[in-house]
């Protein structure tokens, strides 16, 4: 008799998206993704649904969030195990502490390992976050119930921490091995990955079901863990429908706004309403050619989920202008040298000086 577990994490319901517009639609997409996770668990006839933390953002989640989460978890009908993360730590004010929490939901409310027997040969050990940093969860942990021992915790694999990501409840593969855990079902890294150890899955990040931030690498979805005859198999199921894309659009000597819009139209042809783009225009445009980011966002905003435009075009041949024996030439020369050393303000100032000498008023 096989035991099937669907594992998800980092849904981050009620996240505030500040990197690109369209936050409300992205929050709705996250909620839809959570529905799909439950759908997946039901479709796979899973025996257990596990949540590896950060199901919601504690500081923004209200009663509506609770009703939504509880309705979805109740819909699954079978046991749901939740190991709260650093964004949804267990406390008396957490949604998990509400008295209307569905009966099929079990929350690991302590930063200490607690067992939950799923089947005779399958045990899940859960470790929950509380508002304080929990330390190293696997330090000194020893799981001795036998059979397949799955650890459910929200934490950071120290060897694979993405750049800029804050580590929480850190651990290493060595610690996992020492604990006796067959595999860790975890969360925290939004890019999903299954790390194998000696040919067997040892650590599984499902990733957030939808991308949360630009630059996240890995899959976005859920994990289906199957234990059959004492053997664990893990399958990553992509669920994401949205994409976060940083797109560079070169403008080769665009001489008009129309040319810029045409280049953008070509570049955005492959993207749709579920795609959220940060477009960076670069290259040279003819002096005086207007690059209006707001106009571009308005023009293409309906075609994609959201569009933010960064204008890094060069409006003139600064090197040539810098050779002019006059005030403009000398000013541009000064700024060009600073821009080439990485001064973004100088780069923006270059455009302004050229515009101002061309009789145009610089605009933000």
């Amino acid at each position: 008799m096989a035991t099937t577990i669907v594992h998800a994490a980092d849904v981050h319901l009620e996240t505030a998206f500040t990197d690109v517009r369209g936050g409300a639609r992205r929050r709705a997409a996250l909620a839809d993704a959570f529905v799909r996770i439950v759908d997946l668990a039901i479709a796979r006839k899973a025996d257990l649904l596990t949540i590896g933390g950060d199901l919601y953002e504690a500081e923004r989640a209200g009663p509506q969030t609770a009703r939504f989460i509880f309705a979805q978890l109740a819909r699954f009908k079978k046991p749901v195990l939740i190991a709260p993360g650093n964004h949804d730590p267990y406390s008396s004010r957490a949604l998990y502490a509400r008295d209307d929490l569905p009966a099929n939901v079990h929350v690991f409310a302590e930063p200490a390992w607690a067992p939950y027997a799923v089947a005779d040969d399958v045990t899940v050990f859960g470790f929950g976050h509380t508002p304080g940093e929990p330390g190293r969860p696997f330090a000194g942990a020893r799981f001795t119930r036998g059979g397949v021992q799955l650890a459910l915790v929200h934490g950071s694999d120290e060897d694979r921490c993405p750049p800029g990501k804050r580590a929480t409840a850190p651990f290493t593969l060595d610690e996992i091995r020492a604990s006796g855990a067959t595999c860790v079902l975890t969360g925290h890294y939004h890019g999903g990955a299954v790390i194998e150890d000696d040919g067997k899955p040892r650590l599984a990040y499902p990733g957030s079901p939808e991308p949360i931030k630009f630059g996240e690498r890995g899959t976005h979805g859920a994990i289906v863990a199957t234990v059959k005859r004492g053997v664990l198999a893990i399958e990553a199921i992509p669920l994401a429908r949205t994409r976060l894309v940083d797109l560079d659009v070169p403008l080769a000597d665009a001489a008009s706004e129309n040319a810029i819009l045409a280049a953008l139209e070509r570049a955005l042809g492959d993207y749709g309403r579920d795609d959220y783009l940060r477009v960076r225009l670069h290259g040279t445009v003819a002096p005086g050619t207007r690059v209006d980011a707001d106009l571009i966002a308005d023009r293409f905003g309906d075609l994609v989920g959201a569009l933010d435009v960064e204008d890094r075009t060069i409006a003139a041949d600064y090197a040539a202008l810098a050779r002019e024996p006059n005030v403009r030439g000398r000013a541009i020369d000064d700024l060009l040298q600073r821009a080439q050393s990485g001064d973004d303000d100088a780069r923006a100032a270059l455009r302004m000086v050229v515009s101002a000498f061309e009789g145009l008023e610089p605009v933000p």
């Binding site: 005030v327 000086v353 933000p364």
Partner: protein
Amino acid sequence: MRLDTLRIDGFGRLAGRTFAFAPGLTVVVGPNEAGKSTLSAAIVAALYGLQRGEKDRWRPWTGSAYGAVLHYQTADGKRWELHRDFERDAKGVRLYDEDGNDAAGRAAVLRSLVPGELHLRVPLDVYLQTACVRQRAIALEGSSAGAVSTALAQALDGGPKEDAAMGALERLDAALRKHVGTQRAHKNAPLRALRAEEERRRREADDARAALASLAELRERIAAERAERDRAAAAAAGLERRARELQAAQLRAQLAALKDYRDELAELQAARAAYDDVATFPVARVGELEDAYHAWRSAVHVAEAASRALAEEPFGDDDLRELAALGHDAGSLDDDAYDAVRAAAAQAETAASRAAAASGDAAAARRDGGGGRTASGMLVAVALTAFAGDVAVAIAHLWIWTAIASVAAIVFGFAAARGSRARAGRAAEADAKQRIADAATAEERLAADTVARVLEPLKIASIDELARRRERYVALHARAALRAKADARARSAEADAAAAAERFDRLAALLVPDVAGTRDERRAASGKREARCRERDGIDAALAMLTVRRGTILLGADEFALQAEYEALVAAGVEPAEHDEPATLREIERERAELIARAHDAERRMEGHAGELRRAEQNVPDAAAADEALASTQAQIVKLEAFERALKLARDTVEQRKDEAHRAFARRLEQYSTDVLAAITGGRYGEIRLDPSTLEIRVRIPETGQIEDLDRLSAGTSDQIALVVRFATARMFAEGLERPPLLLDDPFAFWDADRIARCLPVLVRGGRDGQTIVFTASGELAEAAAAAGASRIDLAANGVLV
């Protein structure tokens, strides 16, 4: 710019005259009041218009049309025809190009056309400062230095003939004002507005989070109240179990007590039935019976005692007769009279004693007085003897013995005198004592008479007899009185005993009518019945106490209800406690009541919080959207701050380079001036320094080798150098903008010929670089200039002179 001709219809004193100007140096010569300054002003007015207050000043004297027509050409070779109607101010300007097209429309600066600004690219004050030299005002004025410097910097800007750097700075400033806002801006301050919006959005986001936190807090409170309620309810339930056990024990004890009560009641009721015989016994009157009995018994005892006393004190007839006899003598005196007689007798006895004593004293005194007379006589005899001897001795003339005898006579005489006086005193004392003795004797006699007057009628011999008889009388009289009193008491007691017996008998007939016998027997019977009544009352009291006890046991409940309650508890599985502990049960009930009250309070608070929560959940803010709005505003601020930084960087860079250009123009101007000055001064002054910001001129003095201010030089040299700088300035304009025609309004009016001669090469040289019009009253200068190739206009002549 080069002026070709100026036709003046009317301007000040000039009217209907046309002046043609040479491309180089033109000298306009004429005496004072000939119109040189008027012509100069007309040129300026044609180019820039009349300024405030000038319209009336230059109104034509002759009443001719107030206007002029100026033909000129610009450095680009274009020719222009400018018509001025000074009466119409700015509206009276017409500018035609060489094809006759009206250029005013496209050349208008703002709403009015100013050809000077249009074609010279400098404002009026710069033109006046740089190219228009008035009388004795050759040096540049520091007050306009800024504008002049800017104009010169524009000329030196290197680009096309435009104010590129200044325009760029203006546009950068405008962008800063428009898109960022300045510190002092109130209306258009986008960055400040964004920061205010950020603050507002931050508050909204904080409020949203606080609202969510308050919801969580409410839920937390509800959970806490629920826990409190459950704790209190659980504790109350625990206490209830214990209370039911104790209650069962209490019921059990109550039922047992009731059983005891019933047994005791039956026993008492049976005992009570044995006292029916005294049911009507008036026990309340037993006390009266007792009182009557004791009164009777006491009276009988008193009568018996009185009878015994009479029997023990006999008073016979002899006693009666003796008492009667004594009553006639000693008994006849009342106590006062008897006491008075006794006192008189005692007084007489005392007076007799005193009389005897006084008589003795008087006799003794008289004896003492008789002895003294003898000694006194002896002394008198001696004294007389001594006196006689004295006489004799005197006769014998034995004077010493005479003296001795005299002294002796005197001494004895004096002693005899003293003895005589003492004897007289003792005689008086004896007389006094004798008088006392006499008085006492008299008193004795008076008292004795008083006694005698009492005793004699009674035929009693002495006072002692009277006393003896009186004592006997008193004793007999007392015994008689005592006997009478005992007799009276016996009779009274007998009467009282009879009355008490009657009363006793009456009460006994009421209380024990069925008992005969003595009073003691009847009394005893009454006492027995009274005792039975008391026993019966004791039983009744016990029955009453039982009634009270039943109430205490039942405590207002029904006996059957107690039984039913007990049976119900036992049926419900309650194990009665071993002991009935009412105090413990009461304490438990009190604690349980408190716990139930606490549970109710917690429930009530919980419901209150739940209601509050329901209301609060009706309007839950979208914290994520609020955070995104805040982040969006913050991103805009970051973007605008970056824009501001870049803008300021751009501006600072351009301005820095522009200032460098200023400094460069100053160096160029210095160079131009130095070249000319060296040429016209024969190399004496070869170095000029010009401050680009104040336009102050300094020059190196050959004698000191120092750079000095211009005012350290002579007036002529100073003017000469200033004129050189003027020409250099015009030349600078020619490089970048449009060289203005230089108008020199008789700057040499007060110069001597030598200074004029030294400046003439400057003029000639300047005329070669550009159009220069010199207005002068000096015929010598005009002739010299003409000799050097300058054109001449003689204002004295009426008409056009070329």
